[in-house]
Symmetry: C2
Subunit: 435 residues, 2 copies
């Protein structure tokens, strides 16, 4: 039986084969005993028969490596993000086992394979399939799966250190401060654990979150989740800049993977930053930002451009040039007013106003139907990666206080996670935290 | 000023240029007076700079034609569906004007152009942009926009014939019957008007619905809307069969565009069927079907296959063969039981059990976050096109009574629309209804 020989004690390595018994129980209900030996369906073979539109995005990113994938990886087009709470009664050993199971499944899916040894369709008939199957025949489409740990994982519950992690908590891993204008829904905020699944095919991203939730059964449960249908940032100079739902290019001045020095300085936690277990990792901030597009759509073009400080067409700074020209914040126009106004989003968010701070933005547009008044429930699911949460907090405080954009947006969800470094093959995600 | 010279009386033709004054007011708030002459941004030019993943699905389908696009069009990958109610106080002339405005905008977007004469970025600075802009730089990605009329459009309100259409109502255009197990949410059902926007790029589909809602401002408001991220049917033999969220191939035995006789017999309303204004049109049924995937995921493989009567891997009938083999409903296996059981979905839905009736299925998978219990709010947004609503009703009654699948699904939304024939260039969608 898959993985049944594995000891349940915490150790750094994962067994060479398969999910834990608990992971299989999550998949299987009661009847895993019948599982014999086999080989998981290889989706790549099936993918050969897929249509051209399905075959787009045949990129594949390895799960194992020095840093987790899904951070400097060129932003894929679609997102399924999920926050989990570890279920009451789950022990430290069981949490570790969950992370081990997740690691095995994530590595498998990232390589275009099903979850489990048999996958979706080749298992025994008297067991639930190990994989739910809706990604059969689809290419990996650049799937990355990125894990994070929320502040509450390091807390006590009823006076007891939940997982023996209280003393290992990074000093900076606390709830984000309250910002002016915040209108947060607790049901869309926070969480013990998070998983960011990105792919160029939404069905592949959804498949990943669904199968990981299923594996977590009894150990951790979905707290909230968010689908994003269009990336709002480029994270590589090889990508065209996409547009957000206000119709503006988004990601122009983003950190790009091709700037390794900036990435090192702004994105990765260094060994000196501490704690040691987080070295090579990062902090992930997620903000669900509702955009009141009906109001925006009634504002005139000059106001829209003034709000951002960039043109709507080319995305050039209002101080002139083309999309990638450096903005000149001093340049004045009529009546000696700066062309990029004092309340313009790009002025306030620019490193010049924030002691040189940059963020790696990796957000997605969302539309979740409409509200009772017939307004689209639309916005930006903002995600940023940074070496310290203080980077986000500094920029966001600046924006929350002064940004002209505030008239058109509302922050309704918020979460912060510590994202451990990448996982070496044979280990599991976050292992150094438990060492 | 765009379209301002046009008489407001109802006629079959639309003005050669631009949206009505009301449509522009929907876009613009108060300040349209400043609009001069110009040319809408051509997105195709911008698209040249798009990344490869953005460029996928460069297909383009003409909006004008004999039948509306989006029915036998090879099913695109993504959906944004919206139902509208015409606002109280809107007159018949205003309704016609709305349909004219929608026609112009839909034809423009279907050809990869912005809405309006100036589009998103080239308009005067003291007016709101005519197009919201988030599809700038994206190819059309096979966008189709399909309009339908709900039963309530043909009703009286407070004793008054809302739009003078009471006597033009097709006899079959009434609410669908209540089926056993129906658990419908009125907030996700029905509507005076519907728009189905399909594209291989979700941002393009969202852009279409958003701009059409905006144009409707003051005349019709969103009642409900649904995003679908993965098509669950192939409607052309050129397409691979996709999978639904239960992991099964879906669309195998669907009507295909390559069977013109079947399409004529089963999908298009004929002149003899009546009413005359609907000839060449169809009926659209939408059902929001919640799938309880957690329960499904715990059922064993043999049960899953028995429920559908097909194999999970290849999608072949349990009576043998390959995906496209005809099922043999008589063939018995062990203990003389038919290999495709009495309650199997494909047996009950097959034309053999339904007097030869077929449906053109064109549904989409959806995941709308999760519910409070941490279960994914997931399912199938079922769409079918048929010559008569009775076709759907017959099949669905059969399924609602006997289908083994009922243990795992719940119908939570329902709507029926009459879909008029295609629009000739120079006319507007549904014009014959008002002639
Ligand atoms: C719905 C909310 C938001 C929208 C629509 C939005 C949109 C934009 C746009 C259009 C740009 C200019 C192009 C670019 O460089 O990407 C931009 C820049 C930027 N934004 Fe935002 N943004 C939003 C929220 C935020 C938040 C919450 C933060 C962080 C706290 C942020 C941080 C930045 C940064 C750092 C830049 C680059 C500034 C520069 O260096 O020029 N944005 N944003
Ligand atoms: C969540 C709900 C549903 C699921 C998961 C589902 C799934 C499937 C699957 C896997 C097949 C076999 C492959 C194929 O031929 O496409 C199928 C066939 C079919 N389904 Fe459904 N279906 C659902 C609801 C419905 C509904 C509501 C109707 C219509 C009332 C319907 C009508 C049909 C028809 C007509 C066939 C083809 C039968 C044949 O000729 O072999 N289905 N469905």
């Amino acid at each position: 039986m898959t993985g049944s020989k594995r000891a349940e004690s915490a150790d750094l390595a994962v067994p060479a084969r398969g999910l834990s018994r608990r992971g299989l129980l999550g998949l299987a209900g009661a009847s895993v005993a019948g599982i014999g030996m086999g080989v998981a369906g290889d989706r790549a073979a099936l993918a050969a028969s897929a249509t051209p539109e399905m075959a787009s995005g045949s990129a594949e990113y390895p799960f194992y490596g020095r840093h987790q994938a899904g951070i400097v990886t060129p932003a894929q087009d679609r997102l399924h993000f999920a926050a989990f709470d570890v279920s009451a009664g789950t022990t430290r050993a069981e949490l570790i086992e969950l992370l081990q199971d997740w690691t095995i499944a994530a590595a498998s899916m990232s390589a275009g394979r099903d979850v489990g040894e048999y996958g979706a369709v080749s298992g025994p008939y008297d067991s639930p399939p190990e994989d739910t199957g809706e990604a059969q025949g689809l290419p990996t489409a650049g799937l990355t799966i990125t894990f994070g740990f929320g502040p509450t994982l390091f807390e006590t519950a009823d006076g007891v250190d939940r997982f023996g992690l209280v003393r290992r908590r990074p000093a900076e891993l606390t709830s984000l401060p309250h910002f002016p204008g915040d209108d947060l829904d607790v049901g869309r905020s926070d969480g013990d654990l998070c998983i960011q699944a990105c792919s160029n095919d939404p069905q592949v991203a959804v498949h990943a979150i669904r199968n990981l939730s299923r594996i977590a059964f009894g150990r951790a449960a979905l707290r909230w989740s968010q689908l994003g249908f269009g990336r709002t940032s480029s994270t590589s100079t090889s990508q065209a800049t996409p547009r957000n739902l206000f119709g503006f290019k988004d990601g122009t001045a983003n950190i790009k993977a091709e700037e390794p020095d900036v990435v090192t300085a702004q994105v990765w936690v260094s060994a000196a930053d501490g704690p040691a277990w987080l070295a090579g990792g990062s902090y992930l901030v997620a903000r669900r930002i509702r955009m009141t597009i009906e109001t925006w759509d009634r504002s005139i073009l000059s106001e829209q451009e003034a709000v951002f400080g960039r043109t709507k067409g080319a995305g050039a700074p209002l101080s002139g040039g083309t999309e990638f020209s450096e903005p000149d914040f001093a340049l004045a126009g009529r009546a000696d007013q700066p062309l990029i106004g004092a309340a313009a989003h790009v002025r306030l968010a620019h490193p010049a106003q924030n002691n040189g701070t940059k963020l790696l933005r990796r957000g997605y547009n969302f539309v979740d139907g409409n509200d009772e008044l017939g307004r689209l429930e639309a916005g930006l699911f903002f995600i940023s990666f940074q070496r310290s949460p203080a980077q986000f907090a500094a920029v966001q405080l600046n924006l929350a206080k002064h940004d002209a954009l505030n008239e058109y947006i509302r922050h309704v969800g918020s979460a912060l996670f510590a994202v451990p470094a990448g996982t070496p093959e044979g280990s599991y995600v976050g292992a150094p935290l438990f060492a």
